[in-house]
């Protein structure tokens, strides 16, 4: 993937945060980032740990494509 190296320049670890009232459990984030986003029994995301540098690009895409704009990278 072309985005593998994005954001890997020694920055502090990024974290995905969910705006819970906005999240409607559509699951796009899990589709894009199964490595760090699981879904609970109702389809809402469970974020496991920080975003590793090699996944920053995908994490940004997940933030961009969330249908309810409920995902934030901090």
């Amino acid at each position: 993937m072309s985005i593998t190296n994005a954001g890997a320049r020694g920055r502090a670890a990024a974290t995905l945060r969910v705006d819970w009232p906005a999240c409607k459990g559509r699951g796009f984030c899990h589709e894009l980032l199964p490595e760090i986003v699981d879904l609970d029994e109702w389809g809402y995301p469970i974020i496991n740990g920080v975003v590793p540098p090699e996944l920053i690009g995908l994490a940004k895409e997940a933030v961009r494509t969330c249908p309810t704009l409920a995902l934030h990278l901090t």
Partner: protein, 392 residues
């Protein structure tokens, strides 16, 4: 309901018939004037009394040099078993407003918002009347919070003030940086403001805290105790084996014996795993045991979810059902515990976390009782619970 307000060492000292402004000024003297540095130094020991025990001076430091922050008195007391702020509204409303005045002056704040609970009309009336008696009554804007457990949550209060539904939203920044309409905001619980006033007007007085006992009864008691007092002294006549819920509906189960070994102190209690919260102490109601009371409270807390965050909206009713099933001898403890990880830190506010704290503390503090219920019995109540009893 009859609120029994006991005389105490500081906030509840010198109670007279009148809580009027002149009587208050007679007793406490004039409102002192202090600059910001003096305030921060003097208020180092004041902890937030809304439940989180957050250091008040830290909030002041976060405001930094910002001028005209919005000042908010959170008098909403959304927890039905808590009555300490209602007590202050009745007997010491002006002490709360003194605290506001001292800080508002130092920070050149013009706007003071007071959020009061709609379902407690006596509080609404007392606070509104007190604000009218002050020198600048127009500075105070009174808002009515909804009758909902989470209505007093800080962000829910700011939503109400902004004219939106009185429900929690995600906080991306502390309210000191971005609060009411994005402005620096200083929001604290009513009792906290009273302690601020006391510390500035009586600097040598010992630190105290308010407690509500029997908050679900027809005659709750509100007491003031010095920080550092032994719980064994406060609880006096309680049986050592009695179960006690410390911190209210979002609180922690323990026994009177265990609590009796601790002092009334935020940090010591937190480290012992029994945080004081907003100072609510509850015992099971007649006919209830810790297990059935927890089932009742878990159901109540599920009903009081704002219904906006998926894990809370779906998970609290599911956990409440699992607790009820366990209480009635037809569920598994593992099913209940499954929800702890599912719910914690997965909401805009701490409502799911507080509900998990309550349920987790039950299985931690009373494993034998939980096991007895799983087997269809109950070691507290004399009557056995009918496994066929309908789930509320």
């Amino acid at each position: 309901m009859t609120l029994r307000i006991h005389a105490g060492p500081q906030l509840l000292a010198g109670l007279r018939e009148s809580s009027s402004y002149p009587a208050h000024r007679d007793y406490f003297g004039e409102v002192p004037v202090a600059d910001r540095d003096t305030l921060i130094q003097s208020l180092e020991s004041v902890r937030g009394r809304g439940g989180a025990a957050f250091p008040f001076a830290t909030k002041l430091r976060a405001l930094g040099a910002s001028n005209r922050p919005v000042v908010v008195v959170n008098w909403a007391e959304g927890e039905p078993a808590s009555h300490k702020d209602a007590a202050l509204a009745r007997v010491r409303p002006h002490l709360v407003l003194d605290g506001v005045q001292i800080v508002a002056r130092a920070y050149r704040a013009r706007e003071v918002h007071i959020v009061v609970p709609k379902e407690r009309p006596a509080v609404v009336d007392a606070v509104t009347a007190a604000a009218q008696q002050r020198r600048h009554p127009k500075r105070f804007k009174v808002h009515l919070a909804d009758d909902r457990f989470v209505a007093g949550q800080a962000r829910a209060v700011l939503e109400l003030m902004a004219g939106r539904p009185n429900l929690p939203v995600t906080a991306w920044q502390p309210e000191a940086y971005s609060g009411h309409r994005g402005r620096p905001t200083l929001l604290s619980n009513a009792e906290t403001w009273a302690h601020v006033a006391l510390r500035m007007m009586r600097p040598d007085s010992p630190a105290t805290t308010l407690l509500t006992m029997g908050g679900e009864s027809a005659a709750p008691d509100v007491r003031e105790v010095e920080i550092g007092t032994s719980w064994s002294k406060v609880l006096g006549s309680w049986s050592p084996d009695a179960p006690i819920l410390v911190g209210g509906y979002h609180g922690t189960w323990t026994s009177v014996r265990r609590l009796g070994k601790l002092p009334v102190d935020h940090d010591t209690m937190r480290m012992a795993g029994v945080p004081l919260g907003a100072g609510v102490l509850l015992a099971p109601a007649p006919g209830e045991c810790p297990m059935t009371m927890t089932a009742r409270l878990a159901r109540y807390l599920a009903d009081h979810s704002a219904g906006r965050c998926g894990p809370c909206f779906n998970g609290l009713p599911a956990m409440a059902a699992a607790v009820s099933d366990l209480a009635h001898g037809r569920g598994e403890q593992a099913r209940v515990e499954h929800f702890f990880d599912v719910l914690e830190r997965r909401g805009a506010c701490a409502h799911p976390d507080g509900t998990v704290r309550l349920v987790r503390s039950l299985v931690t503090a009373f494993p034998a009782e939980v096991a007895a219920h799983r087997a269809g019995g109950c070691s507290f109540a004399e009557r056995r619970h009918d496994p066929g009893e309908s789930v509320a």
